[in-house]
Amino acid sequence: MAGANRDFDSAAIRRDFPILATQINGKPLVYLDSANTSQKPNIVIDAMSKFMRETYAPINRSAYTLAANATELYEGARNAVAKFINANSSQEIVFTKNATEALNLLVNSWGRANLKTGDVVLLTHMEHHANIVPWQMLQQERGIELRWVPLTSDYQLDLTSLETLLSGVKVFSFTSMSNVLGTINPVEKLCAAAHAAGAIAIVDACQSVPHTHTDVRALGADFVTFSSHKMCGPSGLGVLWGRKELLEAMPPFLGGGNMISEVRLDGFTCAELPAKFEAGTPAIAEVIGLGAAVEFLSSVGMANIRQHEIAMSSYVLDLLTTRFGDDITIHGPRNPELRGATFSFAFRGIHPHDLSQVLDQSNVCVRAGHHCAKPLMKIIGANATARASFYLYNTTTDADALADALDSASDIF
């Protein structure tokens, strides 16, 4: 397969994902929407059903064997996630319902405790709504100031004035990779710059954790958030990693069972980490599913996945530009090393919604819309784009199918 990675057994990986064998009207499924949410391998689906069939029980609460076994699986998965991102301790892993909740937790707990009127939060023009709207809500409540790192003309963060932008900033919160442009940001450098300016660094790593090896300690971040459902894990689950000292100093976010040490009619005290931030019954089976996902990704190897996606990016960029020339505008960097395999594009003036509808006739699944990044869309001058995103299970065959389907779209409009 041209452009593909030799050490990477795509066929074997595809067999792990039952949905990829689906045929609609005799044609295979070409799933190119993994930046939105990824498909699930058998190992994850099976871990969840096996757990529900054999071991389902409350965790961390009851003394009987079934509950102890469930707790062991659950906390084992937390350990696996901690190891996967090289956290110092599994106490630093907080499970949330999605990455959005993780970011809201930070804004509400850390933000409310540390930010007052006039304090500045630095974001970037390429943020997802999940890293914009919670801050705007705090802005309404507290009168904080939001500042933005702009883009260069080649879809990178424009860091020429970073030092100025960072002056007086308390929090720098940014995405590790744009879910629209595919741009990979220099996370270590940005964290270091934040710290040099006396700010904390929050990394929205939703788009990088699934695709590349993540070492939260090496990144130098203070908080990192990501979602299970984009990394082959179940829906209904997100992860917040934070440095222990910071998490310990923060007030709780949601109140209820599990997050308390003592409750009296006149007040309560908090439990230790990570329980303090996990109020109520958690997503038990889902956490166990994420443990399986992390095991799966590690067995493939995150470096291999990254290599595969660089190869895919090369192939896709070559293919689309060679075949469609000026008829296609790809909003994102041209260098495969500087980007993930997520491509937003405009094609022959066809509205992305119509385009995606027509591609669907060939079972080619791409997302059309604003990708939860409306400010960015305005900046790149589009109301909507079509987006094709590739993951470890996509091959050059999928890319070819995309190109063929694009061709057929012109017939209609």
């Binding site: 009207n25 509205h351 919604h353 119509d354 819309g369 109301n383 909507a384 209609i412």
Partner: protein
Amino acid sequence: MPGIEDLYREIILDHYRTPRNRGELQPPAISSEGHNPLCGDDIRIYLDVADGVVRDVKFSGQGCSISQSSTSMMTVAIKGKTVVEVGAFVRRFKHMMTLADNDEPVDESINLGDIEALQGVVKFPVRIKCATLGWNTLLEALTESTK
């Protein structure tokens, strides 16, 4: 899988390629803006209502073939109708789009004309929001105009 030809009927593509009543109206005409939160499309409806009658209507904004053609056909259909007639007409359309509001009766005898071509959209539920964007925005403008 429903065929894409159910969606992209010729009359729809015609209104998409050559939208009618595209443009703006100056105040005192009323205007309202609508967003499709799913895809980022937006539409603005301009409405000139006098003595309970829609004298003129125009629209601007960006959108897919379905939202643009649906809005274009809508403007053609409602111009000259009374506000009451327009209300009933919108209800009839939303009913076709399977979005009837139970509290309000629908007059099934109302003839939607060309707009019937949008029936195929119902087979593509995500696109219903596209087809109704202009209509919901019209309703807002109508509410404005009766304030």
